[in-house]
């Protein structure tokens, strides 16, 4: 790992840790802005979907990767955001209000589930959020007067300053903009006391508390913030699919979201982006190679979920740091070449620390 020589306190809190990063990310941004000009509609739409999942991934990463609170119910927040967006637009509320509103409503929902689950951690929280997710999913199905029930809800095209932001390109640019905003927000959180409090709660609640961190307050903030960001993703998701169906927001979606942060690499924003790439590109690449596979395998209806499950299992067994961990190892390998030593990343043998309180 490169550690820049530190001469100023400002160095630690700069937005760009390394000056060269500014140019690389700038180039990436220019490339991303240019894609819709040169690429077909299909790929623009797929990339927009990737951005939306990356936004949700960043939201969940703050909660699970940084605060250490597991949520298996984030599909609920995506759903609440999406339905808020669709319902408000249908009532004629302008787009520049509906999107922040869907973040706000979802944020409150996050606080509402965060407060009663304050005392829970680990496993219990996972189960509680799983239940919360299924309850919200059922409500979206059965509350027909508001959500349209099984028939779903059409989403009106958004207008911003008289411009119709419709079609894949509109969603693409909106999602890119929101993704940039969300990353900026997350980086701000992580370099201020708030982010450090999250990390402290993740690593040791008892000593976080004796360092003056109000566990209840910060866990609630983390839930609210994570839910609000996921709600933003939900609002964009509504425009992405253009017709909301309640069964889109089920347990499987929650598992997909958690897989994003897990396979991407817990505790890093890069991980959230990598995870979203994995999640969205996997089905595409399977579709591409499907025709070349032997018939029994290529026609297998469960091919995608089984590969998905297999990668998840292999990742946890052999690369618990996720794609981001692998990426750092590859970077370190080239940086130190030929002085690479395998032990640099060897995990320390940690004794099985009981998470069961006895």
């Amino acid at each position: 790992m490169r550690r820049p020589f530190k001469t100023l306190y400002e160095q630690d809190i700069r937005f760009w840790r390394q000056p060269s990063a500014r140019w690389w990310y700038g180039l990436l941004l220019i490339a991303l802005c240019a894609i819709p000009l040169i690429s077909g509609e299909f790929y623009v739409g797929e990339l927009a979907g990737l951005f939306i999942f990356a936004i949700a991934g960043v939201g969940l990463m703050l909660l699970t990767g940084y605060t250490g609170l597991v949520s298996l119910g984030h599909s609920a927040f995506l759903g609440i955001g999406a339905y808020t967006e669709a319902i408000l637009l249908a009532r004629g509320v302008p787009f520049y209000i509906t999107l922040p509103a869907s973040a706000l409503v979802t944020g409150f929902a996050g606080v509402a589930i965060g407060i009663p689950t304050l005392r829970m951690s680990g496993l219990y929280l996972a189960i509680a959020t799983l239940s919360f997710g299924s309850i919200v999913g059922t409500v979206l199905q059965k509350w027909e007067t508001v959500t349209g029930g099984f028939d779903g809800l059409p989403v009106k095209a958004p207008y911003l300053f008289g411009v119709k932001l419709d079609g894949p390109e509109g969603v693409y640019y909106m999602s890119l903009l929101v993704l940039l905003f969300v990353i900026w927000l997350a980086l701000n959180v992580l370099r201020s006391p708030l982010g450090r409090a999250f990390v402290a709660i993740r690593d040791s609640e008892v000593s976080a508390q004796s360092m003056g961190i109000n566990l209840a307050l910060y866990k609630t903030i983390s839930f609210g913030l994570s839910a609000a960001i996921t709600g933003l993703a939900g609002g964009l998701f509504a425009h992405y699919v253009r017709h909301l169906a309640p069964d889109a927001f089920d347990v499987l979606l929650s598992i997909q979201l958690v897989t994003i942060v897990f396979v991407g690499g817990l505790g890093s924003l890069h991980g959230a982006i990598f995870g979203a790439m994995f999640m969205r590109l996997l089905p595409q690449s399977i579709a591409l190679i499907r025709d070349d596979l032997p018939n029994w395998l290529g026609r297998m209806p469960g091919l995608e979920p089984s590969i998905f499950g297999l990668i998840l299992v292999l990742c946890i067994m052999y690369e618990p740091m996720g794609i981001n961990g692998r990426w750092m190892k590859v970077k370190a390998y080239f940086k130190n070449f030929p002085m690479h030593k395998a032990s640099a990343f060897r995990r320390q043998k940690s004794y099985a620390k009981s998470e069961r309180l006895r």
Binding site: R119, M120, S131, S134, T138, V206, V251, G309
Partner: protein, 293 residues
């Protein structure tokens, strides 16, 4: 039929499906107590058990009881290998990594079952199908009664196993203190694999008991989510608690389907679960313990 009889009927039906939740929860709790892992694939192991039993009884035409026994054995062996090959490698990783691992395994199991058997629902007939027993005017389906009786018998057998046999006592020791048990010469790793085998076997029993009432299909493992409610209600550390919790969840679910507007039945178990976690996180039969610093 008068109201009291109908109510009683509902309670019995609820208790029957509750027994299934309880048996799946049994598997969660047994593994959790011993290894601190939570097996989110328990419901899907049950699904595999159901398909295995289907193969033995309907495809190979074996006698119901022989097929039943073989299905238990095969599923238990599967559980044993699952631990020995996969889960043993992630010991010491955070609890949540194991949750994700088992979720991933569940995906593979579902796809594997779809490939090996079918993605369609299949029916499952037993000697009890479409027969009823008449208990003093109360008419009950034999398949429901078989679930209740089967659960009782299984619990009795397992109780005797854990309290009377050498192996059972060794398992108790290993789950209370791994290190101490290891120093006393108990082969803790093999014991853990055997515990996975037992919970897979219990899941197979649940599967065979459940199969005649519901259909067999690859998604029947989602029942596991309801079993969480059972386990949590029982305190997540208590095996009898898990079974009793399952019965309570089953009965409440049936009654809410009868008394509350449609739609509520689907979420009853979730609401029960959330309520218990929020109001009494230690469950009905557990006790709270704090971390020591």
């Amino acid at each position: 039929m008068d109201d009291a009889a109908r109510l009683l009927q509902l309670v019995v039906n609820g208790a029957a499906s509750g027994c299934i939740y309880g048996l799946i929860a049994f598997g969660f709790v047994l593994i959790y107590k011993a290894t601190e892992m939570v097996n989110f694939a328990q419901g899907d192991i049950m699904m595999l058990g159901a398909f295995v039993a289907y193969s033995f009884i309907h495809q190979f035409g074996l006698n119901y009881w022989v097929g039943f026994g073989l299905a238990i054995l095969v599923t238990a062996l599967f559980g044993f290998l699952l631990d020995a090959i996969v889960l043993r490698r992630v010991i010491g990783q955070p609890q949540f990594a194991v949750v994700m691992l088992t979720l991933g395994l569940a995906f593979i199991f579902r796809a594997g079952a779809g490939l090996a058997w079918t993605y369609d629902s299949v029916g499952f007939n037993t000697p009890f199908t479409n027969k009823t027993v008449n208990l003093g005017g109360l008419v009950l389906g034999q398949d429901n009664v078989s679930i209740l009786v089967g659960t009782l018998v299984l619990c009795g057998v397992l109780y005797l196993f854990f309290s009377r046999t050498r192996l059972g006592v060794a398992m108790q020791a290993a789950s209370q203190n791994q290190l101490a048990a290891y120093y006393m010469g108990i082969p803790v790793r093999r014991i853990f694999s055997l515990i996975w085998a037992i919970s897979a076997g219990v899941a197979a029993v649940a599967a065979v008991l459940l199969a005649p009432v519901s259909m067999i299909d690859v998604n029947m493992g989602f029942l596991g989510i309801k079993a969480f409610a059972a386990a949590v209600l029982g305190g997540f550390g208590s095996i009898p608690g898990a079974v009793i919790g399952g019965v309570i969840v089953g009965v409440v679910e049936q009654l809410s389907g009868y008394f509350l507007p449609p739609g509520f039945q689907d979420v009853t178990s979730n609401i029960v679960l959330l309520a218990v976690l929020i109001l009494r996180p230690e469950g009905l039969f557990g006790k709270t313990i704090r971390k020591r610093v």
